[in-house]
């Protein structure tokens, strides 16, 4: 257990160490310059209990994140950043200021500082007991679920992550460049792009690293071994561009399972080691595996106690108030590793976000004019996987487009079904359950009709 009043520095590295490469100024900033930017930003912040951090630039996001923390403010990191979602957050949390690098209204605190424009400063410390951030995952009926992160938890996890990554690399290079395609306001992106460079000899690339061409350009820009932090979706897209000019030391993938086929292609494309991370937003990264290694089983980080019961894993750590039971099903191997056996619940995953089908069905049925209906994962009803959900509805007065528009108001855009089939009735049995076989038949018929 951490001592309640123990402290650790925001960056546990030398002040002169390279911290971030900022693409817009084409400069590499040191840890000391980052600390000075944090101090300058912190001075400019109005007093508030919460800071809604919606900065889009990775460097300014990092500066705002720690500036708020040094002022004792709690970063609120919504996964939806549209006006309606932010308004709801402001209502729910009362005393808040919105930190934005593209301020939209006068109530926002502008994080428009020039990176590296404030000299150097000493690296501030934070108390382990301090609540640093609340990340949100999409919840039922549109209300996001909050997951609180103390500095103690983030500090502990970052050292564990670096220890495991270093082991994956074999001989860790002296200094590495890191390019991430995932946003820092999601747990995976926060841990592996924002926090890793605070303990590891890593220079964080801060540009618009999103499209395949941007990512390979960023990787090629470093005169150092590189680490790529991405998702299967981004990696699949990346394969369509030319490989980086130098091999990547390690490619990290998380948020969705990586197929063996894609894993081999990515390793051939990027060179270096392919590392897959398993995590859950309510905790953070939990386990690591090397899909193309001799033993490809998942290893849970040693900071977690893992108990398995009937395929369901429950993890405990002193940093969480209570044990968390994971939504995926695992099987234990003889060598103390774990193999993922699919989702244990009705949870679907799209674009790295999780949502329960029950919640999505409730949102569908809440639309005026929808008499019956359900949301399904095409892959699980024997249809080709498209990476998106489908829905089937009984709504005589509505068309597919208006249902989609209504759903977009209620659920995260990732979960809005791409295919919506309208039918006269759903073949429910006497217990009002819909048999999988009946659903398949119905969809086959509806698709046939559509095609004609």
């Amino acid at each position: 257990m951490p001592v309640p009043d123990s402290l650790s520095r925001i960056v546990e590295r030398e002040g002169s160490a390279p911290f971030a490469f900022v693409a817009e100024t084409n400069r590499t900033l040191t840890v000391g310059e980052f600390a000075a930017d944090i101090a300058a930003c912190a001075d400019s912040l109005p007093s508030s209990r919460f800071a809604i951090n919606v900065c889009t630039n990775r460097y300014r996001f990092a500066v705002a994140f720690f500036a708020a923390a040094t002022r004792g403010q709690i970063n609120l990191l919504p996964s939806r950043r549209d006006a309606a979602a932010l308004d709801a957050l402001r209502r729910d949390y009362g005393s808040s200021v919105t930190l934005s690098d593209q301020p939209a209204d006068s109530g926002d605190a502008a994080v428009t500082l020039t990176p590296g424009g404030h000299g150097t400063a000493a690296i501030p410390e934070l108390s382990h007991a301090q609540l640093t951030a609340i990340v949100f995952t999409s919840g039922s009926t549109g209300a996001p679920r909050p997951h609180a992160k103390t500095w103690g938890l983030l500090d502990h996890f970052r050292t564990v992550h670096w220890r495991y990554l270093r082991r994956s690399l074999g001989v860790a290079p002296h200094q590495m460049g890191l390019v991430a395609t995932v946003p820092p306001w999601h747990m995976y992106g926060m841990e592996w792009s924002l926090l890793l460079p605070t303990v590891a000899p890593v220079t964080l690339h801060c540009g618009a690293d999103f499209f395949p061409h941007d990512v390979t350009a960023a990787l090629s820009r470093f005169d150092l071994p590189t680490v790529l932090v991405a998702t299967p979706t981004h990696l699949r897209a990346l394969l369509t561009s030319a490989p980086p000019t130098k091999p990547v030391a390690a490619t990290l993938s998380a948020t969705a399972p990586l197929s063996d086929d894609l894993a081999s292609q990515v390793e051939a494309f990027a060179g270096g080691r392919l590392v897959e991370i398993y995590g859950a937003s309510e905790i953070g990264s939990l386990a690591i595996r090397h899909p193309l290694g001799e033993d490809a089983a998942w290893r849970f980080f040693d900071c977690f106690d893992v108990a398995i019961d009937n395929g369901r894993l429950t993890v405990t750590t002193p940093h969480l108030p209570e044990p968390v039971t994971l939504q995926d099903r695992f099987e234990q191997t003889a060598q103390q590793g774990f193999v993922l056996r699919g989702r244990a619940t009705d949870v679907v995953k799209v674009g790295g976000k999780r949502e329960s089908l029950a919640n999505l069905n409730a949102a569908l049925l809440a639309i005026p004019g929808v008499e019956d209906g359900l949301v399904y994962d095409p892959e699980r009803v024997g249809m080709p996987a498209t990476g998106r959900l489908g829905a089937i509805a009984v709504a005589p007065e509505l068309d597919a487009r208006s249902i989609r528009a209504q759903l977009a108001q209620r659920v995260d855009s990732a979960f809005v079904p791409r295919t919506i089939r309208l039918v006269p009735a759903l073949p429910r049995d006497d217990t009002s359950k819909l048999a999988l076989r009946a659903l398949r038949q119905l969809l086959a018929d509806a698709n046939l009709e559509q095609a004609e």
Partner: protein
């Protein structure tokens, strides 16, 4: 371009002819597309036209606004080739 988008994104109940060149693509009231779609569109454009979109380019946000602006950008890039 409308066909490319409809195909790349499996927009089953939107036909290519229906997409107005001025429809806002990334908006719940428009086509309701999101960042995963932007990635898919970029990949499809790279494969078909060998034009590589960059998010670092300030203009990309504007380019992606509507079907019309995206088409204009890709055509401009294609025409600019030696």
């Amino acid at each position: 371009m409308a066909h490319l988008i409809v195909d790349a994104l499996n927009l089953e109940d939107v036909s290519a002819d229906e997409i107005d060149p001025d429809t806002i693509m990334f908006d719940d009231d428009g086509l309701g597309l999101d960042s995963i779609d932007a990635l898919e569109i970029a990949v499809a454009i790279a494969e078909q036209f060998d034009v590589h979109l960059s998010a670092e380019d300030e203009a990309t946000r504007d380019v992606f606004a509507t079907l019309g602006s995206l088409t204009a950008h890709v055509m401009q890039e294609v025409d600019a080739r030696p």
